[in-house]
């Protein structure tokens, strides 16, 4: 035991005198090299009395760890300050790592998801490239519908499109599951828009769908209002105004009074009977509501971003603000 302390104190004085990397390496060999003093000390362990063994071993290990730590410290100081020692100055900035952050749109999407999860919704996903059937036909948008104009939709083949909304997920979920259904589906969607401050050829939506035996427009209003209060604050006023979407009826847009203006947030409505028919759900027995909102749009309002393109340029000066 005494021997360990002796080695340790010798080491302490030796290392103070080290001023070059070469000297440090000599010292390493002397103490913790393969035939170094500490290494060989381990071989004495077998000669120690059984009762003392654990204590001796622990001491030895401790000494070894301390010596190794001292080496590391000395090594980095030799490398960086080249011999001279900086006097401690607590006002110098601390050592930092890069800060990882979620993309602002994910931050907003997470907020939206968490609110709806707390309302009992589960999260679903669907492909970004869809068949014409899922993106249009099954959603009561037949081929002759004016909303199908070529300039809005990006096509892969005549029958395969970049989905123009997250609504196809409604169809996929209803095909797979029986009511009750209560889901939201966030994701990327595409439109044939030339990029400018308010348009991006791809953007992000959250789709919502609830189907049950007694689901009404009143429930839709309730859930949207509750969402708006959670997302935009208790004082957020909400208004509904009639609108048109082929896959819901009645349809509405809802606006939230935010930052002194009515902001258009989302489209919503009661699932159209034709949509139910296309997935084999009886519209006489079941009813449902659906809604969709733009994640990018909510993020622009929330963060006061005036140009949607900023979200996709990934300039660190932008991303690091969130």
């Amino acid at each position: 035991m005494h021997r360990i302390h002796e080695i340790k104190s010798n080491f302490d004085s030796d290392i103070r005198n080290v001023s070059t990397i070469e000297q440090l390496e000599e010292l390493r060999v002397k103490y913790i090299g393969r035939k170094g003093l500490i290494t060989t000390a381990f071989t004495f362990l077998k000669d120690v009395e059984a009762s003392q063994k654990p204590k001796f071993g622990a001491e030895l290990n401790k000494a070894k760890k301390e010596i190794e730590a001292a080496f590391g410290k000395k090594k980095s100081s030799l490398g960086s300050t080249k011999g001279s020692v900086v006097k401690m100055d607590v006002t110098l900035p601390g050592r930092k790592n890069y800060l990882g952050r979620k993309h602002p749109l994910i931050q907003v999407a997470d907020e939206i998801k968490n609110i709806f999860k707390s309302f009992g919704f589960s999260i679903e996903d669907g492909p970004e490239i869809e068949t014409d059937y899922y993106n249009f036909e099954a959603l009561n948008i037949p081929k002759s519908h004016p909303a199908r104009a070529m300039q809005d939709t990006l096509y892969i083949t005549e029958d395969i499109v970049l989905r123009t909304h997250t609504s196809p997920v409604q169809i996929r979920v209803m095909e797979e599951r029986k009511p009750p259904i209560r889901i939201i589906a966030p994701g990327r969607v595409y439109r044939r828009d030339t990029p400018d401050a308010t348009h991006s050829p791809f953007f992000h939506q959250v789709e919502g769908l609830v189907v049950g035996e007694t689901v009404t427009f009143a429930d839709l209003k309730g859930v949207i209002q509750a969402f708006a209060h959670r997302m935009f604050g208790k004082d957020a006023k909400v208004r509904f105004r009639p609108s048109f979407f082929p896959f819901t009826e009645p349809s509405a847009e809802y606006d939230v009074w935010f930052n002194g203006k009515w902001m258009e947030i989302s489209g919503c409505g009661m699932v159209h009977p034709n949509v139910f028919k296309s997935v084999g759900i009886d519209p006489q027995k079941y009813s449902g509501y659906a809604f969709g909102m733009g994640i990018d749009r909510v993020a622009m309002l929330k963060y006061n971003v005036k140009d949607i393109r900023l979200f996709f340029e990934n300039d660190l000066r932008f991303l690091s603000q969130f």
């Binding site: 060999v29 393969r34 170094g36 990327r188 009404t216 009143a218 609108s243 990934n314």
Partner: protein, 794 residues
Amino acid sequence: MKISYKWLKEYIDIDISIEELAQKITDSGVEVEEIIPLVAEFDNIVLGKVESRSKHPDADKLSICNVSTGDETFQVICGAPNVEAGQLIPFAKTGAKLPNGMKIKKAKIRGVESFGMICSKEELGFEENSDGIWPLETAHSVGTDINIVLADYKDYIFDLFITSNRPDCLSHIGIAREVAAFTGKEVKFPEVKISESANHNINDFIKINIEYPQGCPRYAARLIQNIKVAPSPDWLKQKLETIGLRSINNVVDITNFVLNEMGQPLHAFDNDKLSGKQIIVKNSIAGEKFTTLDDKVRILPENCVMICDGKEPVAIGGIMGGLNSEVSDTTTTILLESAYFTPKNIVTSTRKLSLMTDASQRFEKGTDYDNVLFALDRATELIKQLAGGEIVQGVIDIYPKKIEQTVVPFNPSHVNRILGSDLDNNTILETLKTIDLIDTPKGITVPSYRVDIKEEIDLIEEVARLINLDNLPTSVTEPVYLDQPNKGTDDYISDIRENLIQTGLQEIFTNSMISEKATSITPGIDTVKILNPISDDLSTMRPSLLQGALSTIKHNQNRQNPNLKIFEIGRIFINNGSDTIPLQPGKIGIALTGNRMPDFWQGDATLFDFYDIKGIVEELMQKLQIDKVEIEPGKNISYLDNDQSAIISVNGAELGSLGKINDTVKSNYGILNDVYFAEIDLDILLNYISYDKKYKTIGKYPYIEKDLALILDNSTNASEVFNFIKSQGGKHLVNINIFDVFVGDKIGKENKSLAFRLKFQSDERTLKDKEVDQVFKRIIDKSKKQFNASLREN
């Protein structure tokens, strides 16, 4: 769609403010996107009275006027010949700014001071050219703000967004009908009295026949002779200009006027250019050529509605007229067409022709088939009034099969089932009645202009909107669903994202559409191409997250930030044959470049290297508790440096790759620093995440550490030695750590030394040195033999 407030008022009394009106229109389901005042708000302009007028002593054409504003009187020099004492006039005080930008200042004109200006219509922006000042007839008192005095002259343009189901709202009368429903006023239709000339009958001039009723169920026409094509009068010009249309001549302007008044598109033919005294409505044959009035040769698809004379087509019905029959300045006889075309036919034809017009946009959504004659008479009479001529007696109205009025079976109780309301049947039926949806024994009858109402749900929507959505009940007691999963795929993706962020990675979102050229750095993937891309730069779906990462690095490097530690989670796209949707696997892309740490005052910055990207991947796997990960050398990854590339696999399934971006790719992007990139398949990863975490007892007995430094051939992979030691270590070898790698002349040029720290521990007892030594010795001996290695002595 632009609606003029002044124009709208011709069809309905409005006794509410502009703002309230906008609110009513919005509540009806037509969104008011913008209200544009046609004349700006005036400032410092009031109603003045010319008290006296005298001649300027030094200028013949100037007058000196005293203008009263009630409490004050100003001396004003006026150059207008029509200024008279006693007139009420718009008076701009000093400090006022006129719409043309002119600022009114105190001035001295030929030696006489002037304090303000008497304004003309032109100066206030109400007309193009004025001859003199604007004497007003008004009951307002002198001194009143001119904005109030001129309220009736001012116009506002309502820019409306009309949803595609409501083509009946695409006109001033259509909007008036909506306003009527929400204010209780009545719509005033224009009075039309046709004054035909008794000399001729239209049947003597032309015969009309529909051979293609599928595309054109109704075709009506009138003939007007001896007209004079000329510029339109000011009122008509102004009306069209306020809603953004260009005035062309009286005939064309009238058809546009009626279109915007009541939504019926009309077409005027120069009757003298029609041959054979007949009109035949036919369908086109694919490949047929036709020159439209914009002088473009169109190659027609099949089944366009073609309006033909005795010889050839003269118009594409419902879409655009032909050059051969166009009305010109010398036209004297007009055949005016008013028709109903089948919406589906027009949609298909416009899409195939890539030709959309004001007319086609209305026909494709559905026009009012019952309004065909009224609109025809309205325009005919206007042409007679504005272009002279005689209306030939009679109207031709070919309507072989009358379109039946829609009757929708309706059970009022279904309203409450959908709306969650508590409305009684009577209220529901009365509500519908306000917009002429009338309850009859067969069901609810629907007016011809409401082409959107076809089934019960459409009526429920009408009830909802008429009652006002904000007045409908709101329910906040929703049932709790007990069958939702506790944690789903999305939650695991969130966990992965969280783990990456904790290692200091910034998340990015990049475009999933890239240029075809950019895909060349990731060859071997059958890419997905867009049929109608926005541009060449956005023509191909990304086959990898690499392109987005490199673009991001380039973008930031060009903005003086060369240090990035970024990741993206997103889909990539792989062609899966033209009959099915592409494969769209989720991927995680991670990229490192530049300084390993943010700038710090101590020490020189070190750059990211291979082991940083590898460490991040290893840590991620550790966090997700995926044990069986192997990262082995992987050659031939097109964008990676051959010596610094590796394949990541789990249980033999390939998860992805990582390594250093090679110089070719780097210089392609003009990136200066080295880039390290990893791409991991999200879907495969999710299969291996340990969803079931169970606690294992923490060892309470001391461990014994042994260090082993082997000198090996440089080409020996660390993982081989590591795995070998592991396989030889027995059950008590609980951990192996590589703590040093050494190369140098001391151990031979072709060699390297790997130092392993082995940790032995038992769950059941304290291990004896002897047994550990035994195992350790065996490991040493076997390793030496296996790898032809020697022990490093110091």
